[in-house]
């Protein structure tokens, strides 16, 4: 009964950003672009959602940034280690159709979600423009992989260390003024999705964002993930996570992401203290 999910490969692909390939055949079999897993590292662990960023045979790839206790603990694991629980694929797949020209924008660790969407869009007969942005060159991830599945890729950095000096939103505005875009995906931090999606509103271009509220079960049974979309309460884990950007109440989303800030800091502090005392990284609850 105790099924564990083995980590096949684990790599730090940028500062604090990790790529894990996890053996989870039940997830791999049906996973589609836009869906996620919920994982729990061990008996004491929290259930956290991570987007499925690629699939290969029985393996599912997740790319995550070590931002708090759970993601930091996860990053201390390596190939050969195992994760207690992986549930999925969860959420609705991206609405892949033949739109015409699509732009897929990834910001920060959100870039990880873009290749699988771009690939499915291209397969459905769309022209796909990829745009990725990060603070600086060292934080750009999966650039080659995304380039391979896009018709065109634009790279941006906030500090100009690589590609366009500025934000993906600037590229989006430019293209909206010059060409026709038929559908846009924006995936990244909530504030970036809010600002960037504002650009497509006056043009009435269909724009999808992938929302990341705090989740527990990820199966529609608790309402922790509730978001307001078009004035209605939706559960992001089952009604989303992708929604029409122009209908989303981003301020409420950002507010709800901060419910546990104090506890998150306490948890992280304790974890650091623990790992320091036990020596090098990887202190797992036993």
């Amino acid at each position: 009964m105790t099924e564990l999910y083995a980590i096949a490969r684990a790599t730090e692909i940028a500062d604090k950003i990790f790529e894990f390939w996890i053996t989870a055949p039940h997830v791999a079999r049906h996973a589609r672009a836009g869906q996620f897993v919920v994982l729990r590292i061990d008996e004491h662990g929290e259930r956290i959602p991570l987007t499925i960023s690629a699939v290969e045979g029985d393996l599912v790839r997740v790319v995550f940034m070590a931002v708090g206790k759970t993601t930091t603990q996860l990053s201390s694991l390596g190939a050969g280690d195992a994760i207690r629980d992986v549930a999925g694929p969860l959420g609705k797949p991206s609405e892949i159709e033949q739109y015409g020209t699509c732009m897929v924008i990834g910001g920060g660790v959100g870039i990880a979600c873009t290749p699988i969407i771009a690939q499915e869009l291209k397969r459905a007969g769309n022209k796909v423009i990829g745009v990725i942005g990060a603070r600086n060159e060292s934080l750009l991830i999966l650039e080659d992989e995304l380039r391979a599945v896009c018709n065109e890729l634009v790279v941006c950095t906030d500090d100009g260390s690589k590609g366009f000096h500025g934000f993906p939103a600037d590229i989006l505005k430019q293209r909206l003024a010059e060409d026709t875009l038929d559908a846009v995906w924006i995936i990244g931090p909530a504030i970036m999705m809010k600002i960037t999606s504002g650009a497509t509103r006056p043009y009435g271009v269909k724009t999808f964002v992938s929302l990341n509220p705090i989740m527990v079960d990820g199966t529609g049974m608790c309402g922790s993930c509730r978001v307001t979309v078009g004035g209605e309460t939706k559960f992001a884990c089952v009604d989303g996570p992708e929604f029409d950007a122009h209908e989303v109440d981003f301020d409420e989303l950002m507010q709800r992401q901060r419910i546990y800030t104090a506890q998150e800091q306490e948890s992280m502090g304790r974890y650091h203290e623990h790992t320091c005392r036990c020596g090098e990284g990887g202190a797992r609850h036993e």
């Binding site: 099924e3 049974m221 309460t233 304790r270």
Partner: protein, 451 residues
Amino acid sequence: MSKRPASERIQDFREVDQGLSAEEAVAEAARCLQCKKPKCVEGCPVTIDIPGFLADVAAGNFREAARTIKQDNMLPAICGRVCPQETQCEGVCILGIKDKPVSIGSLERFVADWEYDHGVELPEVAPSTGKRVAVVGSGPAGLTAAAELARAGHSVTIFESLHEAGGVLTYGIPSFRLPKDVVAREIEQVLALGVDLKLNHLVGRSVSVDELLAFDAVVLGTGAGLPYFMGIEGDNLNGVYSANEYLTRVNLMHADRFPDFDTPVVRASRVAVVGAGNVAMDAARVARRLGARVFLIYRRREEDFPARAAEIENAKEEGIEFLTCANPVRILGGPTVTGIECVRMEMCEPDQSGRPTPRPIEGSTFSLDVDAVIEAIGQGPNPLLIHLIPGLAIGRKGNVEVDGEGKTSLSGVYAAGDVATGAATVIWAMGAAKQAAQRAARAIDRMLEES
């Protein structure tokens, strides 16, 4: 049955009721009049031979008592603890007219716990039929259906989306009413019949509908886990929970032991719980154990509370404050909850069910300072899977439509428990699951005969 004092029990999550000793059990069972036409059996949704097992207990033959109960109920340690006996077997006990009814629930629990301590006898399993049955959900309905079908010799797989089996027994009902080791050991007994349990499998996502329907029979036991919210201003403020979320964080994820366990829950000093059913009582008592002063808000009177009498009593003893004839109109604060605004209600002419209709009294709004709100106003059937199955008839309340024996509109697909009835009880889920499983087994038998 002895209860731990309230002042002690609100300090922890250990069981409140301490159960009967063997001597107490024998004496209590001996009170049974052994009626010729036992009303208690009629009052039991799974028709346990109650006088039979009480006679066994009175004679000190606990092993035989366990056998008698388990002919009709695979999960007696659970039912003995959570069934609403006062409206079922004990409610119709003849002794109850003049005196106290026999404590049938406590005796059922005693027998189940005794059997566990003295070695459990597993029921016989028929030779393998080679037929595959899928059971979706591992709550009381799913577990019962799985046990029934495994005993008939079918190869049964339970799919459960969470990381632990048990459904509401695991994530909903707190351990001070139903210890988790009791749930775990009854689940083990079901698995010992050869049932395969696949956790972390959300059917409809991890398992496609086509894969599901490829089984020789399917039993849906996905429950009523969709929480409703009041839909009033402030519903999405930080610190507003559905009872399901609050209870899941604590019961399944152990947020009461944060930071030893990673899942947090808001540690409020004043909590409002809205609703007055079993779920509301559980949420209120959990909040109390997490150190809060707890107000339970209900729009009708105390005599109208839908919760079990014993749980209302327990909640009261533990210092939960009841605010009756009050209805929330707005949750105050931003971004975090600071209070709840309610309007007083007056009781008017009775509705069809005979209960008076509550009506708001104009100009009577008042507010209460709280830093968390838990909404326990009901749950609907889990919609995800049942809406993905083409042709599955769904009723007005979002429930799967079944005939009297658990058969759905699709051949080979059965449903039982809360997904078919809407939120109900453990024992009704089990009773219906047993029927659905037997109906499925008959259909498979016909398949086997024809081939």
